[in-house]
C-alpha cells in the first residue's frame, strides 16, 4: 500500500484515496503533427524498471492532479510535486539522487 502526500491540499493518505493516471510529463502532439509523434504521445510509454514519474489524482480528496516520483522495483515514493511542471523539479531530482546514486537523471 503506497502512502502519498497530495501537494495541492497537503493531505497524506493511503493509495485508495488516490487514482493513478499514468506517465507524467508527456509532450502533447495535436492535429497537424507527425503520425509517429502522435502515436508515441498516445500509446508509447517508458514503463521503466526503476525511477518513474507519474500522474496521480486525489480522487477522494481535493480532486486535483499532481505528480509523483516512485520506484517501480521497490515501490518507494521519492516525493510528490505540482502537476504544473514540465520536468521534475530540482529538489525531487536531488531526493532521487540521494536514494539512487546510479540514476541518470530525467530524460
Amino acid at each position: 500500500m503506497l502512502l502519498l502526500t497530495c501537494p495541492c491540499c497537503g493531505v497524506t493518505a493511503e493509495e485508495t484515496e488516490f487514482h493513478n493516471a499514468g506517465e507524467a510529463h508527456l509532450k502533447r502532439y495535436g492535429p497537424g503533427s507527425d503520425d509517429a509523434d502522435y502515436e508515441a504521445y498516445m500509446f508509447a510509454r517508458k514503463n521503466p524498471r526503476g525511477v518513474h514519474f507519474e500522474r496521480w489524482r486525489h480522487a477522494f480528496g481535493c480532486g486535483k492532479f499532481f505528480h509523483a516520483a516512485r520506484c517501480t522495483m521497490t515501490l518507494e515514493v521519492f516525493g510528490t510535486y505540482s502537476a504544473q511542471t514540465l520536468a521534475p523539479p530540482a529538489e525531487i531530482a536531488a531526493k532521487i539522487k540521494a536514494r539512487r546514486p546510479e540514476w541518470e537523471g530525467y530524460k
Partner: protein
C-alpha cells in the same frame, strides 16, 4: 526421449524407478542459432515447439533469465476460455483452447486439461445485454457459448448465493468446453518436446544486450556470452519494455501487478470456474482441493511481483458475498505476477522496427489461456517473416492506424 505410457510406468515399477530420463537437457549455448527465443515461459516454449513441429526449424535456443516457467506461467489462476467479443481475439483464444484439448496427447505429457466449464456471471442489466451480445458474436465466430438463467447457474454451482446482498445473479455466459489445466505442466511438457527435437533450453541466462548489423539483428549478448542468431523472438511478457529498450524501440505497454491466492484444501465443493466481474473476483477449485482465487490488477506501474492489499480485500469481499461458505476458509498463499497491459487490452504479435526481430507480448491478464494459440501464431510469424491469419490483426501498427481490438470495453474489467 522415452515416451511416457502405462507400460513405462509398469517397467519402471519393476526396477525401483531407476530408468527415468531427465525430461529435458540443460546444454551450454552454441555460438549460433537460426532462431533465438528470449523467455522460456509458456508462450516462448510454445513458439519454439510449433516452429519445430509446423515449420521444421529446429536449430533453436530458448533463453531464460530465471528458471523454466518461473514467471507468469507459474503465477496465474490456470483458467482457459475463449468467449471473447472481438473476432481476432475469439479466433486466437479459440485456437488455443482447441489445441489445449489434445495437448497432453501431442506432447506425451499430462497437462491435466480439465474442460469443466467457465461461467461469467451477469449481475446487472447491462451485463446481461453485454453477455447476450457476446453469445451472439461467439455463435458467429464458431465458439460454443450459451447464456443461461439464474436457476441453471444455481444448479451448476449449488454453493453460490444467487440472491447476493449487493448484486443478484441474473444469469451467466456459459462456455461448457472451457476449463483449467496444470500450468507448470504446460511449460514442462513443451520444454520436454522442444528438447526432444534438439532445441536448447538455456536457463539462468539473462539477455543484457542486442546486437544488430545494418538494421538486422545479428546476436544477443547474455550472461553466458554472445550468441549469434538469424532471427530473434522476444516473448518476455512483463519485461518486454525493458528488452524493447535494448533493441531500440518503445512499446505501447505498461507493466502492472495482478494478484491471486489459494485457500487451504477442502473437499470438492465447486466443479466449474466462476467469474464475477461486477463484484470482481473469480474462483475455481484445484484438483488438490484449494480454492484458486483471482481478482483485479493494480493501476500503477509495478515490477515487484507484489500488489496492494486493497485488491486482496476487494476480491475476498466479492467472493464471500457470492459464496458465503468461503468466509471461514484460511488462505494458504498469496502472490502477484507482472502483466503487460496494452492500450486496448489485446496482445501484440508483430514484426518490430529491428529487422528479423519479432515480439509477442501484451497478453495482460489473458496469458495462460492463450499459450498454444499464441505459440502457433508466433511460430508462423517467425518462420515466414510475415504474420498469418491468426496474428495479422495483432500487429504493432494497429496503434498508429487506430485499428484497436478493444477488449477492455468488451469486458469492462481486466480479464
Amino acid at each position: 526421449m522415452r515416451r511416457y505410457s502405462v507400460f513405462a510406468i509398469a517397467r519402471e515399477a519393476m526396477r525401483q524407478h531407476n530408468g527415468w530420463d531427465r525430461a529435458w537437457a540443460s546444454p551450454e549455448p552454441k555460438s549460433h542459432y537460426d532462431v533465438i527465443i528470449v523467455g522460456a515461459g509458456g508462450h516462448g516454449l510454445a513458439t519454439a515447439y510449433y516452429l519445430g513441429k509446423n515449420f521444421g526449424i529446429k536449430n533453436v535456443a530458448i533463453i531464460e533469465k530465471g528458471w523454466l516457467g518461473g514467471g507468469n506461467t507459474g503465477r496465474n489462476t490456470t483458467i482457459i476460455r475463449s468467449n471473447y467479443l472481438q473476432d481476432p481475439s475469439a479466433a486466437i483464444y479459440e485456437k488455443a483452447r482447441s489445441l489445449y484439448e489434445t495437448l497432453s496427447q501431442d506432447l506425451n505429457y499430462n497437462i491435466m486439461f480439465s474442460p469443466r466449464g467457465v461461467m461469467m456471471l451477469a449481475q446487472t442489466e447491462s451485463e446481461i445485454r453485454g453477455y447476450r451480445r457476446t453469445e451472439y458474436a461467439n455463435t458467429l465466430q464458431g465458439v460454443e457459448t450459451r447464456f443461461i438463467g439464474p436457476n441453471e447457474v444455481k444448479r451448476l454451482v449449488p454453493i453460490m448465493n444467487i440472491h447476493g446482498p449487493r448484486y443478484p445473479v441474473l444469469g451467466a455466459l456459459w462456455q461448457p468446453r472451457a476449463g483449467t489445466a496444470r500450468h507448470d505442466a504446460v511449460a514442462w511438457g513443451y520444454a520436454r518436446a522442444c528438447s526432444d527435437m534438439g532445441m536448447d533450453v538455456i536457463q539462468n541466462c539473462e539477455v543484457t544486450g542486442i546486437e544488430s548489423v545494418g538494421g538486422q539483428v545479428s546476436a544477443v549478448v547474455t550472461t553466458k556470452g554472445t550468441i549469434g542468431t538469424k532471427k530473434l523472438a522476444m516473448v518476455v511478457a512483463g519485461h518486454s519494455g525493458h528488452l524493447a529498450n535494448m533493441a531500440g524501440f518503445r512499446l505501447p505497454v505498461e507493466s502492472v501487478a495482478l494478484q491471486a491466492m489459494v485457500s487451504e484444501p477442502i473437499k470438492p465443493a465447486i466443479d466449474v470456474v466462476v467469474m464475477a466481474n461486477t463484484v470482481h473476483g473469480y474462483l475455481s477449485q484445484s484438483d488438490k482441493g484449494e480454492m484458486v482465487i483471482g481478482g483485479g490488477a493494480d493501476h500503477f506501474n509495478n515490477y515487484t511481483q507484489r500488489g496492494s492489499w486493497m485488491h486482496i480485500e476487494e476480491t475476498t469481499r466479492a467472493l464471500v458475498e457470492t459464496f458465503p461458505m468461503l468466509s471461514r476458509l484460511k488462505m494458504l498463499r498469496q502472490w502477484g505476477g507482472i502483466v503487460d497491459m496494452t492500450g486496448d487490452r489485446s496482445p501484440i504479435i508483430s514484426k518490430t522496427p529491428l529487422g528479423n526481430t519479432f515480439i509477442n507480448c501484451g497478453w495482460g491478464t489473458g496469458g495462460f489461456k492463450s499459450i498454444p494459440g499464441s505459440g502457433w501464431a508466433m511460430a508462423e510469424l517467425v518462420a515466414k517473416g510475415e504474420p498469418g491469419p491468426l496474428a495479422q490483426a495483432f500487429s504493432l501498427d494497429r496503434f498508429r492506424e487506430g485499428r484497436f481490438i478493444d477488449e477492455s470495453v468488451a469486458a469492462g474489467v481486466a480479464h
